[in-house]
Subunit: 372 residues, 2 copies
């Protein structure tokens, strides 16, 4: 193997591919990136047990392949060398077995690599069921839902976002069983029902967030794959049936509040340091449109109170308490200037949506019981 | 106590004073800041066992004192409240015992404070021996030396920077016994010899780095105090005699290298990931001005080699190894384009200085023994 390439373009690609590398993988070769120099192209592969990334560079990246071949190099060293080497072009050549030379202008590294035969064979063929999303839409779907997944491994399937296609829409749902986030995106595609680890989706968001480009998404019962022109990212799926969440979402409501989204977020945020048992509980007292109070209290620290101004309120007086952080997360995932919060009682789940016509996002939060 | 003040000015002051607060202090009141509203002025005090800060605000900070008084409020809550409250002016009033009300526009906090009588009495009177330094010169002295202090508590005095006045200059010295940094600053002041914790000096650098102002420095055998117009910062001193370091610094040299500072730093930095036993050892082979090589080697990772271009080299061939990070730190503390590195042999300490006429900074590094 022997090739030359533009240092910056190589470094940017290595940064992306290395996102999938676990530095302490039990399989030593997986601490590395597989570099495969083929005819006029360079394929970089990184992988851990959850996510795998493959990136292809070509002549447009100032690549010149002098001799084809492959090698695995520890991702940390590879990034450090390419970042700091003293020239705009870097030459990489296997000189003896797995010993690989990186040359800049005057600087020269000789690094012990791993045998490419020690690198697992990763299947990057695309599953048949596929559809295309713009990267911005993909990012929105992830941003609106992934935060609501569980971070506890007690029910592994809740650590992922469920993606359900019903033929006309994709419905993304996440819940940690105390709150739920749901985003519907209209698209024609075969039916499927998979749950993708939130961790993978957050990496995917980072990888594709820079560009406004079409992302092909392919899915089967084993994996989901996201690919753009020169990057393929694929993730494992979470096993186990995703809970039926649709029946948890109330369709009718007794109380209906419309309020400025930022003023609600800021008011709850002001009270967030008032914690009891490390939980920040916010109490909302809805009496009439002119008498709405947000408050929080802790024996130890003190108390907070703020009068809120609503756009509208319909319903009898209601006194309800909830996790302030959950409502902040939910309100942040919405994007209208004013949001609608609808309730069915002080111990029933409540629903946050945009006030605007865009009802594709829905956030549900469970209240908490307090003894005020 | 009852006063009103501009939120931003109050918040900026709280940020400075809270730098001295240890959130987990065994004395609960020391987790707080003492707020003392006097006639037309507000004095804020924070302290831990090492460093104490006092800041005075007045009418120019849009302060209006309605009723004099004092209270201690937990620094974390205080910062959070003042940062997030919903108006440009904040009103603070003791309403019952230690219960203190913070009011913005619609938001209102009631926080349990600590009794001011529980707050230790901190003496901010200035010691008699004093001199004045510009904040930029003070920062330079700290930046050039504090990094070379020890981070191990085995010899506590080495965790500080020694400040010695000989009547015509102040000599700042720091050493961890493997390297030494020395900065001389000409100034007429009585003789003194104190050692100040590096941690305190780094805080002082942060506090005074924003402005170009005169700092009065006062010192006795117990403490050192730095004061500007409205801030007083004082630190405890480290006990125990500081080692005689002057005799460790060679005055004559056998080998003399002049080299571009940045090219030396960058070359060593390139090799820094090549570590043996978690130490990055760099080898410098000086044969002649046209034959200078920097290299590094690790059985496990691989090796690095780079030919260096020197400005000049005088001396026989020399083959010397050292901690790459120590030489990078030393070269960064210098500020000339080219630096002079002078040696007396492969196992003798070597000295880095500016090539320019400014010889007020001196950096000394001990080589390491290797078995190449």
């Amino acid at each position: 193997m022997n090739f030359k390439i533009n240092r910056n373009k190589f470094y940017n690609s290595l940064q992306i591919v290395s996102r999938s590398v676990s530095p302490n993988s039990p399989i030593p070769a997986l601490c590395g990136l597989l570099i495969n120099a083929g005819k006029d192209k360079l394929v970089l592969t990184g992988s851990n047990s959850d996510i795998s990334i493959q990136m292809t560079l070509s002549g447009t990246d100032d690549l010149t392949v002098i001799e084809e071949g492959k090698i695995v190099i520890d991702a940390r060293y590879l990034l450090d060398i390419v970042k700091k080497i003293d020239s705009d072009e870097v030459s990489i050549e296997i000189i003896d077995g797995t010993l690989t030379r990186f040359s800049g202008a005057k600087a020269e590294f000789k690094i012990n690599g791993y045998r490419p035969s020690d690198y697992p064979n990763i299947d990057f063929t695309a599953p048949e069921t596929s559809f295309t999303l713009n990267s911005k839409d993909l990012n929105t779907i992830i941003t609106n839902t992934a935060f609501a997944t569980s971070n506890k491994e007690t029910r592994p399937v809740l650590t992922g976002v469920n993606l359900l296609s019903n033929g006309i829409s994709i419905i993304a749902t996440a819940t940690d069983s105390y709150r739920l986030a749901k985003k519907t995106f209209p698209i024609n595609v075969e039916q499927f029902n998979v749950t993708v680890p939130a961790k993978s989706l957050n990496e995917i968001k980072n990888i594709f967030s820079g560009n406004d480009e079409d992302i092909k998404i392919s899915v089967n019962t084993k994996k989901i794959q996201f690919s753009s022109e020169n990057v393929i990212v694929q993730s494992k799926l979470l096993e186990g049936g995703y809970p039926e969440t649709e029946r948890l979402i109330p369709k009718e409501f007794i109380y209906d509040l419309v309020i400025n989204r930022h003023s609600l977020i800021n008011a709850i945020d002001r009270t967030s340091f008032i914690k009891t048992d490390n939980m920040s509980i916010t109490r909302l007292q809805l009496n009439s449109i002119d008498d709405i109070t947000l408050s929080s209290k802790s024996q130890e620290i003190g108390e907070f109170k703020e009068d809120l101004t609503a756009v509208s309120y319909e319903g009898n007086p209601l006194d309800i308490s909830f996790s302030g952080n959950y409502v902040i997360d939910a309100a942040r995932a919405l994007d209208a200037e004013n949001i609608r919060v609808r309730f069915n009682g002080d111990m029933k789940p409540f629903v946050l949506t945009n006030e605007s016509e865009d009802q594709s996002i829905l956030q549900l939060v469970l209240p908490v019981r307090t003894y005020n």
